[in-house]
């Protein structure tokens, strides 16, 4: 994985600290061309990986990328599925069974319901596989070397003790998409233990890591301990603590942590993108020089 990965929250008005900023983003990125323009700035700054939710609008972005294979030949996309609000709204409206009927392709679910109570265990994993395929459709022909399960689903399954689905997800992503499965979580220590218990070693995990202990369940000290053990490949997200930490200070902290392979960030303006990339490179350089001297 590359050291710096570009995220998509800013494109879809996801802002953890301000509804006002969120509205401003929603206005700025109303047109797909504005998203592409920002992605091109990121690429020009040396970032070639875009991590994005399987939001409907990403389908349009994929279309643009597919049409220009020369320009995007080194460009990688890390899909994160599912776009949870789509399903959450559907569950409110249709219930859980109704949502499955709506989003699982074909007549699979309908025939399941008609089949009565004796479902085979395999059937539920198959439903998940069909849903993965539905989410992945928009990425056909695009290089997606790592495919992530969104934190709300990873953590829901984690809390419910439904480890078979986490294992099934990893297996299917490898088999069908020849890609590495990734997990987004707000509960790194707990998830890592569960994955290892199920034979998934050195997994790719994207998780909140920042100086202010924001969304680091179990606490910063425990996270730092887990990182020092080098048991997983980490993408650090929410490194700015939702915007609560000055960028320089935040990036210095994350850059200096051991075993953080990549840093994920999102930004809207050219200045912010370029500054962030420069700052990460700056601290990486200092860290490497220190390592050489020692």
């Amino acid at each position: 994985m590359e050291r710096i990965i570009f995220g998509d929250n800013q494109f879809f008005a996801v802002n953890h600290i301000s509804d006002e900023k969120s509205r401003a983003q929603s206005i700025k990125f109303k047109d797909d061309s504005a998203i592409i323009k920002t992605l091109d700035i990121a690429i020009a700054s040396g970032i070639n990986t875009f991590m994005c939710t399987t939001h409907d609008r990403i389908a349009n972005i994929c279309e643009i990328i597919r049409k220009d294979p020369e320009k995007y030949k080194d460009f990688k996309v890390y899909p994160c599925m599912p776009y949870a609000h789509k399903y959450a709204n559907a569950v409110t409206e249709l219930g859980i069974a109704g949502t499955l009927k709506q989003y699982v392709p074909g007549n699979f679910v309908t025939s399941l319901f008609k089949g009565g109570v004796a479902y085979l265990s395999k059937d539920f994993i198959s439903i998940m596989e069909l849903m993965i395929d539905a989410e992945m459709k928009m990425f056909t022909g695009i290089n997606t070397p790592v495919i992530f399960l969104q934190n709300v689903i990873t953590d829901l399954l984690l809390g419910l003790g439904m480890e078979d689905f986490l294992v099934g997800y990893a297996k299917y992503i490898r088999q069908k998409y020849n890609a590495e499965p990734g997990f987004i979580t707000m509960n790194l220590p707990k998830l890592l233990n569960v994955l290892e218990k199920n034979g998934i070693y050195n997994p790719i995990i994207c998780t909140s890591i920042n100086k202010v202990n924001f969304r680091m369940s179990g606490g910063k000290d425990l996270y730092e301990k887990v990182l020092s053990e080098g048991r997983c490949r980490i993408i650090a997200m929410q490194v700015l603590g939702g915007g609560a930490i000055p960028a320089g200070e935040a990036l210095e902290y994350v850059s200096n942590l051991p075993n953080v392979e990549s840093i994920l960030f999102g930004a809207s303006s050219r200045q912010n993108i370029e500054n962030t990339v420069e700052t990460i490179h700056h601290y990486d350089k200092i860290k490497n020089e220190k390592l050489v001297m020692n």
Binding site: F12, A13, V14, N15, H16, I17, S18, D19, E20, S22, R23, S26, H85, A88, N89, V91, T92, E93, L94, G95, I96, A97, L100, L112, F113, V117, Y119, S121, F124, V152, D155, L156, L157, L158, G159, L160, G161, M162, E163, D164, F165, M186, N187, K190, V212, N213, F214, R215, M216, S217, G218, G219, G241, G242, G243, A244
Partner: protein, 337 residues
């Protein structure tokens, strides 16, 4: 270990179940749901013991506490049975269909002495907790006006009917959405005890209101406006906010950001004259397991701690939810006049 059972594994129920499942002091002893599909998945993959009948579940699995997350109209009969069995109860909001039912349950809970809590999770949001602290300390002087708002994209087109679109089951924007705003005002300022005028408007729904506009006043005197609309698709998800104007300053807060303006020199600690901005990230305590917002985990931690006797068990009591149901009922009645 606190033995917990859950009735209703829908959207909120599954969220509670996941947080409870990860809780170090909780053992899940039973789940009751009407969906065969949900029961099948929970039994097979989570290993929970599932029951088709909640009374049978309580008798057989002997929980210390039960979570109730079913459509509102079932809260009253179910919670009543549970209280009579002497178990601690956490129930979803809104509490009951009318304040008479809520009052009866609040009294029964007091009599039996069990822990009783309702899922108004905003009280566990860092920014709103800070607003309450500032108001309780009288830091913006005498309150002259407030505005409570909520907007979100729940019903944005004419669509199929669920219990949320049935007024007899507790559906509608007033019961489902505005209840959060009303409960916050009741808690932060004082209970809304009169309604001067209100409009409940349907936009896409056939049988229930999609927006609520009301002029209200509270027990302690301050009056204000409630403006709630769940058919606003310019919002990605529910956004709840409160503005409070006082003689010495003004507070504007949502679940993410708190802005406070102080006129004079008489200031609470860590605030200065003029505008102050604080973020929920500064005001939120870390939780042990995060699923979808610290407040959802925090309210469950609070309930479990109440069961083991580790706190004052005075947040989101049945009594406070009864007052909210009374305020809801006043707004509803005024709209019909």
């Amino acid at each position: 270990m606190v033995k917990v059972a859950l009735i209703g594994a829908g959207k909120m129920g599954l969220s509670h179940l996941s947080i409870l499942g990860a809780h170090p002091n909780v053992e899940i002893v039973g789940v009751c749901d009407t969906s065969k599909l949900v029961v099948e998945v929970l039994e097979r993959y989570s290993g929970y013991k599932c029951f088709p009948d909640y009374l049978k579940m309580v008798d057989e699995s002997r929980p210390d506490a039960v979570f109730v997350s079913v459509p509102t109209k079932y809260h009253y009969p179910m919670v009543k049975e549970l209280l009579n069995k002497g178990v601690h109860v956490f129930t979803e909001k809104p509490f009951c269909l009318n304040p008479e039912e809520s009052s009866e349950l609040a009294q029964l809970a007091k009599k039996t002495g069990v822990v009783n809590q309702v899922g108004y999770h905003n009280k566990f949001v860092g920014t709103f907790r800070e607003v309450k602290r500032l108001i309780t300390e009288g830091s913006i002087g005498e309150i002259t006006h407030f505005q409570g708002e909520a907007h979100g994209p729940v019903v944005v087109k004419k669509k199929s009917e669920t219990w949320r679109s049935d007024p007899n089951e507790g559906g509608g924007c007033l019961m489902d959405y505005a209840s959060h705003v009303i409960d916050l005002i009741n808690d932060i300022i004082s209970p809304i005890d009169s309604c001067k005028g209100s409009m409940l408007k349907s936009i896409y729904s056939k049988n229930v209101d999609d927006s609520v506009y009301a002029l209200v006043s509270t027990q302690s005197g301050p009056s204000g406006v409630i403006s709630v609309n769940w058919s606003d698709d310019t919002y990605r998800k529910m956004s709840t906010s409160i503005t409070i104007i006082g003689t010495e300053g003004k507070i504007v807060s949502d679940a993410n950001e708190l802005k406070v303006y102080f006129k004079g020199e008489n200031l609470p600690e860590n605030y200065s004259k003029g505008w102050n901005v604080k973020y929920v990230t500064d005001l939120t305590e870390e939780v042990n397991f995060y699923l979808r917002g610290e407040e959802y985990s925090a309210q469950i931690d609070y309930f479990i701690n109440a069961v083991i006797g580790a706190n004052d068990r005075n947040i989101n009591t049945f009594d406070s939810a009864w007052k909210t149901d009374k305020s809801i009922s006043l707004i509803k009645k005024q709209s019909i006049l």
